[in-house]
Structures are given as C-alpha cells and as structure tokens.
C-alpha cells in the first residue's frame, strides 16, 4: 500500500472514530487503537499507534468541546473536580506501574468493561426516583441544568465519592495501559453519580483531552508521534468529532447507550485478548 492510499483509508476510519468518540465521550483513540484498525488492519507498530491514538483523543475532545459547552451540556465543575481525581490517579499509576503485571490488569479491566457495557444498557433514567443530591455535590455546587427537547431541566448529582474513586481508577489505568480512561469516566458519571447521559458523555469528552495532553510530552520526546501517520488521523478525527457534536442534540440517549455499550464491549474483548495473548 502506498502513502496516498494508506492516508486515505486512515482518514475515513478516523472520521468514524472521531464521530463515535465525540458522541460517546470515549475519545477517538478507543475506537482507533483497540479496534484492530491501526494495529491489525494497517499493521502499524504499537508505539506509533499509541502516539496517533493519543493525538486522536485530544483532537476529539477539542473538536467537540466547544459545541457541547455552547449548547450547555458540559458541566465544567464536575469535569474539573473529577479531572483532579484522574490526575492524582495518573500519578499513582506511574508509581505502581512497576509493581503490577500489565497482562493481569488488562484482563481485569476487560472484564470490568464487559460488565459496564451491560450496566450502561440497563440504566433507565426515566424511572429513577428524584432523591436529593449527595452532600458533597451540594457542598461543591455540582448540580446543573441541561438542555432537553422540552427546554432546560435541572438535574441532581449522586454518590460523588464513588465517582471520584472511579476517576482515580481511570487515571491509574490510563497511566498503566495508555488507553481506556474515557470508558471509566463516562461510567463514573453515568453509573455512580447518576448524571443525565449526555451530561456524562460531554463532560467526559471535555476532560479526556486534558488527561491525554498530560502524556503528550512523553510521547513526543520518545518519538511515538509520527507526522505522516498522525496527519490523516488528526484531520479525520477532528472533522468526525465536529460532525458528532452537531448530531448529539437530536440523538436519543438510549441510542447513545447502545453505541457506547457496543464500543466498550469490543474494547473489553480486545483487552482480555491482549492480556491473555501477551501483546501489551
């Protein structure tokens, strides 16, 4: 395959990755790297693939964030609060990386993802009772208002400690495995904190770029970021995420849940396979 063909294929795959990544709050990398696109289909070395994946997460996050903030979905306070947990987790991850077996972690994470795919589908926001927010959510002013088809609606925020704990875990995992933090971030907000789904995915989308940027320095200096490879990825993901941001408002939350579950189901299987096959 020559360079032009390769770039064209990658541009199309990246466009889809950016589109799905922005809609689900997972980031383009989750769709790109574990989905065999880069590593298997295009036979790209894992280091180059990691570099391109990191850039794709930042591009998804940046491309869609402006539209999500403008439309009023993103909860910046919850985002920053949880990002602090993720940053602390990433530091812990860097310290414990040497002590843990990456294969075992990958398998455990894969099983967690399979369970999450199921849990995410099972939640039905419509029948949940309107209990008051967690005390921490009141103390830190986390409640918000989100746009709906029938006008703005107030929402409550539950179980903040569990959300923060999951974020720490997400940070640790991304420090250890390099990917997958978006999945845990959405879960922390959706399943633990019981936020409306679109608030969870858009807030995740806002912060995954910041988490990824924290690793960018290392990736650049180690030479993982190849311009020729990353160019079509970045452009495709960027345009894809802009498209995703446009369609989010009109999309049903339940359809998003199905897409999210399918993506993390694939990611979970991939993780378990990699962990068992030892290709991490």
């Amino acid at each position: 395959m020559n360079n032009l063909e390769f770039s064209s294929y990658l541009l199309i795959v990246s466009y889809i990755a950016g589109f799905l990544g922005a809609l689900t709050g997972l980031g383009g990398g989750v769709v790109l790297v574990p989905a065999p696109a880069l590593v298997l289909l295009f036979r790209v070395d894992i280091h180059y693939a990691m570099g391109a994946s990191l850039i794709s997460v930042i591009a998804t996050s940046s491309g869609a964030a402006a539209a999500f903030i403008r439309e009023g979905y993103t909860n910046l306070r919850i985002g920053m609060f949880l990002e602090a947990g993720a940053v602390l987790g990433a530091i812990v991850g860097a310290f414990v990386a040497a002590l843990l077996n990456a294969h075992v972690i990958a398998v455990i994470f894969g099983v967690v993802l399979l369970a999450s795919a199921y849990l995410s589908l099972r939640r039905n926001e419509a029948i949940e009772s309107d209990r008051p927010s967690h005390p921490w959510a009141m103390r830190f002013g986390m409640e918000g208002v989100r746009p709906t088809l029938t006008g703005p609606r107030h929402y409550r925020v539950h179980n903040v400690p569990a959300g923060l704990g999951l974020m720490g875990l997400a940070g640790t995992l991304s420090g250890l495995l390099g990917i997958g933090s978006g999945a845990v971030k959405v879960l922390a907000m959706d399943y633990a904190m019981r936020l409306p789904y679109k608030v969870a995915t858009t807030t995740s989308n806002f912060i995954i770029g910041i988490t990824a940027a924290a690793s960018a320095g290392v990736y650049f200096t180690r030479g993982y970021v190849d311009p020729g490879l990353t160019m079509p990825v970045m452009l495709g993901v960027l345009v894809g995420s802009l498209t995703g941001a446009r369609v989010l408002g009109g999309t049903k939350s339940h359809s998003l849940r199905i897409v999210f579950s399918l993506v993390i189901l694939a990611l979970g299987i991939e993780m378990i396979y990699n962990g068992v096959a030892g290709s991490l």
Binding site: N2, F42, D45, S62, A66, L76, V87, F220, P227, G228
Partner: protein, 123 residues
C-alpha cells in the same frame, strides 16, 4: 455575574475552536506538502524507528516547520493542538476566578500546574 459567566464560557469555546482550526490548518497544509513528495512511497509503520530528534523537541519542530517541510508543519500543528489544552485549562481556571469560586479555581490551577509540569519537564 451570570452574564459574565456565559461570556467566559463562550470565550473558552471560541479559543478552543480557533486553536483547533489553526492546528488543523497547519496539519492539512503540512499533509498536502508531505503527500506531494511522498504519495507514491510504500508505508513502513510496522517497524518502530522513533522520530528523528528534530521532531521530538519544540525548538526542532519549529525549525523544521520554518523550512516548510511537510512533516515539520504537521508536527507543529500537533504541538499547537496540545498547547490548546493548556490554554483551555487556564481559561477554565480564569472562569472560576471571575466567579470568585475559590475551591474550583484552586482545583483548575492545580490541574494546570500538573499539565504544565508534564509537558515541559526534561526527559
């Protein structure tokens, strides 16, 4: 108070959009130059060689981009994309400072410090 909040949120959005489009433009221009010279070459990404040292440091990337090398321009666009993340956290911190929201201002500044440290440390 509420209006100033919305204005800063709009500014975060605008800065993000402008920065990202600028980064995209650099990458697109670099990509065209790159493909102009290398379109017919076979790809070789299955072997990891690492990037040349010029494309690993900010100074080197800027220097390469100045010579209008396609790969240099792309890499500069990617560096800009990462830099936009710093700006966005800084703007978010500013948003909380204007709101006199001390807890969140400190949280955002803390994240900014960790991010800046991770980007500018040596090695």
């Amino acid at each position: 108070m509420h209006r100033s909040l919305e204005r800063i949120e709009a500014r975060i959005g605008m800065t993000l959009t402008a920065g990202v489009l600028f980064a995209g433009l650099l990458v697109a221009c670099g990509g065209m130059l790159y493909l102009l010279h290398h379109a017919g070459q076979p790809v070789h990404y299955h072997i990891f060689r690492g990037e040349p040292s010029d494309l690993r440091t900010i100074g080197g990337v800027v220097h390469e981009a100045m010579t209008l090398s396609g790969r240099g321009l792309i890499q500069l666009g990617l560096v800009v994309l990462v830099a936009v993340q710093l700006v966005r956290v800084a703007l978010t911190a500013w948003l909380f400072i204007v709101q006199r929201d001390r807890v969140y201002a400190w949280i955002a500044l803390g994240i900014l410090a960790v991010l800046a440290y991770s980007l500018f440390r040596k090695g």
